[in-house]
């Protein structure tokens, strides 16, 4: 093959040869591992004899996914049939453990696909994703509604006292049964029919909600002339010009093209809106763009979401009632760490007051700046970004460019590796002979303090145009001890700016915190040591799984740790103390606003999902303003998401779950406080307790119990208030 390529290259143009030369060199360095895969057979249907069973990425092509998914689902169903039709009496081993063993092929293809469809995607994969989504949910419905299967599980559950199960097995049995029950297994046929009707209505409405929101977000554009750009920095102007030229490219008529010619476009997408709101000195235009943002879905047109939101909330309440729950929130929270709406409200309300108090101080600070400028207006919601930026410069100023040289990616990685080394004795060895899905993805072997293999860690840090935005953790292989010791392959994906030329990649401190955060998830996925794969790693409740990640962030901003890794990439000097002080001070900036808008949205979410089925809900706006008036939201701040664009709860899967981030934040601040109290952020006893409770147990025990085992008591909010500067200590 390569001979052929080189031969034909001689006839082709020089540029072609140049490319070939380079690729030939690449092949020398890159391909130290020879693929053992049979190219004629779909790689998902073959054994992976790769090092540590890392997927053979170079052999996997887009067209391999669908057939593998189809076969995977088919196999999965026949495996389930075998369990159901087993003539023997149900036992834990022939039912629950066998269930654990099902769906291997589906998992094999699913993990690769869902990862790559986000981290290295293309239009084909995105299309495939849309195609697969309904297929998969129908598939899992078939399993969760399988009566024969449920009957076996249920008979085990009834007999659970006499089965001699370990606590882990008992929890697995309980969780498995709960999945069936929550899917309606205990309902009468009539109820099942009602629920499935409600489900399909909700699903249709959710889709419309999302589509409307997309249309509303894409539907507004602020088209500006050069003279309207006062205050905007070059980068922001360039992006707006670029947006206009993209619109021009997509325009279908000459007339439409003319509309964007030599113009600058801003939209209600956050990435476009925030820079404008921050920099523009044109108050009228700030207001216009801001209003377009908060009015999305609330314009009384055909893409209005008010009725849809109310309808979804009502249907959810009805469904909960049929299933025997007081409200939808009760139904959702049953699975979480905080078990009832009362507990969630209690937490949110406790945090609310300090947050709003701080936000009012921030308003006053901004008003002072505006007054000093001789402005003659009261700070409004659309002024927040512009004036908070001025306050930031005055009080919290931090020169990012002075800090970045201390934060090269390699140093930060060394820092996070050392942190886990000091906590748990882990060691990371980079592996160079494994080819991943993209050359920017790097891979390490993680070994335990006794040198044994713990897992594989993949870090894919730089932004690129075929990667989704944001940062996340995922896995290519899970952990299980059911049939021999299987260790996981976890991955962190981030969107840090790639280095320019031969320079090292330099991170902002925000990036560093993100890296530690995702690495915390990765450790949760790596230190896990449970028998059953479905209970491993990050399988716990939503308001718990952010704890291992957010907890690790605290070490990143601990001066002792920061100093150890933040060394200048050119001079090797440690970051100076005054920079660290500024850095830590800056993290308290705008916390009143951030917490208030977040808590407002969390409360709104809870309010929507604690309504009863009988409630008369016509007007989402009225509901929302009543909800916000009740807690006393100030005019200068809107909830982070208003009802008509709260896609997380009306289109995504976060209903009565939006609070979970702040709950995890309470837990992590309080957990880190334990180290502070001990006077050593690497206290050996606490470190090993942390590992044996929070990081290694997966969901084999109740999350709240795990926390209490570590801390000796339930969490308190004091440490969080301190971290976020909401304790009024200023």
């Amino acid at each position: 093959m390569s001979k052929n390529l080189i031969f034909t290259s001689q006839l082709k143009t020089y540029k072609m040869r140049k490319l070939l030369f380079i690729s030939a060199l690449l092949i020398i360095v890159s391909c130290q591992q020879q693929s053992e895969m049979d190219p004629n057979i779909n790689p998902f249907f073959q054994e992976w004899n790769t090092p540590h069973e890392v997927p053979p990425f170079l052999d996997i092509k887009d067209e391999h996914y669908m057939p593998a998914y189809e076969k995977g689902m088919e196999e999965n169903l026949s495996e389930i049939d075998v369990i159901v039709n087993n003539p023997e009496e149900p036992t834990f081993s022939n039912t629950i453990e066998e269930l654990e063993r099902t769906g291997k092929l589906l998992s094999k293809v699913g993990r690769v696909f869902s990862n790559l469809a986000s981290s290295n995607t293309n239009p084909q994969l995105q299309e495939l994703q849309r195609e697969l989504s309904p297929m998969l949910s129908a598939h899992y419905d078939k399993i969760s509604l399988n009566e024969g299967l449920f009957n076996r599980v249920e008979s085990l559950w009834q007999d659970r006292e006499n089965l001699g199960l370990t606590s882990e097995q008992l929890k697995l049995l309980e969780d498995t049964r709960k999945q069936f029950v929550r899917s309606g297994a205990l309902m009468s046929e009539e109820q099942k029919k009602q629920i499935s009707e409600i489900n399909s209505k909700i699903s249709g409405l959710s889709t419309s909600f999302g589509q409307n929101l997309l249309a509303e977000t894409n539907g507004f554009e602020l088209i500006l002339n050069k003279s309207d750009l006062e205050g905007l920095s070059d980068g922001v102007v360039a992006a707006a010009l670029d947006a206009a030229s993209q619109k021009m490219d997509k325009a279908e008529s000459e007339e439409e093209k003319e509309k964007y010619k030599n113009k600058y476009v801003f939209t209600p997408h956050r990435s476009s809106m925030y820079p404008f709101l921050t920099e523009s000195t044109r108050r009228d235009l700030r207001e216009k763009l801001y209003i377009s943002y908060v009015m999305r879905g609330d314009n009384g047109n055909e893409t209005d979401n008010k009725e849809i939101a109310a309808e979804i909330a009502k249907l959810r309440a009805e469904r909960a009632k049929i299933m025997g729950y007081k409200t939808h929130a009760h139904f959702v929270l049953e699975e979480n760490m905080l078990k009832t709406p009362e507990e969630v409200y209690d937490l949110l309300v406790k945090l609310w007051e300090p947050a709003v108090k701080r936000a009012k101080v921030e308003v006053a600070d901004m008003q002072a700046v505006a007054n000093a400028e001789g402005q003659n207006f009261e700070i409004a919601a659309w002024d927040w970004w512009h004036y908070s930026e001025k306050v930031r410069k005055e009080k919290y100023d931090l020169d990012e460019s002075a800090i970045k040289p201390y934060l090269s990616l390699d140093n930060v990685l060394q820092g996070v590796f050392n942190t886990t080394n000091k906590l748990w004795g882990l060691n990371f060895t980079e592996l160079f002979d494994i080819d991943l899905y993209h050359p920017d993805a790097r891979v390490w072997q993680v070994t335990d303090k006794d040198g044994s293999h713990l897992g594989i860690f993949i870090g894919d840090y730089f932004t690129r145009s075929n990667k989704r935005g944001g940062a996340w953790m995922s896995s290519f292989k899970g952990q299980s001890n059911l049939d021999g010791r299987e260790r996981p392959i976890v991955v962190n994906v981030c969107n840090f700016p790639a280095p320019v030329g031969d320079n090292p990649a330099l991170l902002s401190f925000d990036n560093v915190v993100t890296l530690f955060h995702e690495f915390g998830h990765a450790m949760h996925g790596t230190l896990t040591n449970v028998t059953y794969g479905s209970m491993a790693g990050t399988s716990g409740p939503r308001d718990f799984i952010e704890l291992p990640s957010q907890l690790l962030e605290h070490w990143a901003s601990e001066p002792e740790v920061l100093k150890s890794f933040a060394t200048h990439y050119e001079t090797g000097e440690s970051i100076p103390d005054d920079l660290i002080d500024k850095l830590l001070n800056a993290s308290k900036f705008n916390q009143g606003f951030i917490n208030t808008e977040y808590l407002a949205a969390s409360l709104l979410d809870m309010d929507w999902h604690t309504i009863s089925a009988e409630e008369d809900l016509k007007d989402a706006n009225k509901f929302e303003s009543e909800s916000m008036r009740k807690v006393g939201l100030i005019d200068e701040i809107a909830p982070r998401y208003r009802s008509t664009y709260f896609a997380h709860i009306f289109s995504g899967g976060y209903s009565s779950g939006y609070y979970s981030y702040v709950h995890a934040a309470v837990l992590d601040s309080d957990a880190f406080e334990a180290f502070k109290e001990a006077g050593d952020v690497f206290d050996p006893n606490l470190s090993s307790k942390l590992r044996s409770t929070i990081y290694s147990k997966g969901s084999t025990e109740e999350a709240m119990d795990l926390f209490v085992q570590f801390r000796g008591r339930k969490a308190e909010i004091g440490p969080l208030l301190k971290v976020r500067g909401l304790d009024g200590a200023e």
Binding site: S9, V29, E100, P439, G470, H517
Partner: protein
């Protein structure tokens, strides 16, 4: 059941206030927050190229010295055989111009010294010349040498100067490719040396093969008319074709 739960739970989470999970239904959230993804193939390819270079640098940095050295020697050699057909033709052009081994040795030495000089200078970033110009003149140099072979029986005195000058250009050509490949920072000079060594081996191999094939007939009186001139004409023709292709 594994996946049943995996689907419910394995969707992944992101920094504090940046909520979006991997659930397909949540993509709408991502799209609203960040706008639609824009796939521009050119940009994706450019990003991929830059990433490859970074990966190579990491892999090289982790290799023991001897392995790195070997890789660069091999790369230099491969740049002549089989990939450097224009360099092969140039060296063959020199070969056909000589009857004595001695004069060939001098010419090849002049060529080697010259391209080593520019290779080092260019790799250090001290000399730069547009690749298009360099490549066009390299094509021209092949024509020149081959045409000269047809016009003169023996290479002229100033021919060494010309060969030297062309050598300088060929060095720039090597360097352009080498820079794209990326030299490891900490072993810059030694890897440059290794690459150059590879190039010399490649050249030497071409000459040895040509010498073995042609040795027997070199002294025959029909050698010039039947072999040297036709071969040179073919070389000139190819060089001319490249020149035109690279200029236009």
């Amino acid at each position: 059941m594994n996946l049943f739960r995996a689907v419910l739970f394995s969707f992944l989470f992101i920094t504090s206030f940046n909520l979006y999970s991997h659930n397909p239904e949540d993509f709408v959230i991502a799209e609203i927050e960040r706008g639609q993804m824009n796939f521009e193939n050119e940009q994706i390819a450019a990003e991929y190229g830059a990433a490859l270079k970074r990966q190579r640098a990491r892999r090289l940095a982790a290799m023991p010295f001897y392995k790195k050295f070997y890789i660069f020697v091999k790369a230099g050699f491969q740049h002549i055989i089989p990939e450097g057909i224009d360099h092969i033709l140039f060296v063959l052009g020199l070969f056909f111009s000589c009857i004595t081994f001695r004069s060939l040795l001098w010419q090849v030495t002049a060529f080697t010294v010259a391209h080593s000089i520019t290779l080092v200078l260019a790799a250090q970033g001290l000399v730069q010349l547009s690749g298009d110009i360099v490549e066009a003149i390299i094509a021209l140099s092949i024509v020149w040498v081959a045409v000269e072979n047809c016009l003169y029986k023996e290479p002229s005195k100033w021919r060494y100067m010309i060969v030297f000058a062309f050598g300088l250009l060929h060095g720039l050509g090597f360097a352009a490719l080498l820079t794209q490949y990326g030299l490891p920072k900490d072993n810059f000079i030694s890897m440059l040396l290794a690459f150059n060594l590879g190039v010399e081996f490649g050249q030497l191999a071409v000459l040895v093969i040509a010498f073995v094939l042609i040795k027997m007939i070199m002294k025959k009186n029909w050698y010039s008319n039947e072999i040297k001139i036709p071969a040179s004409l073919i070389i000139a023709g190819i060089g001319l074709f490249w020149f035109i292709e690279r200029v236009f």
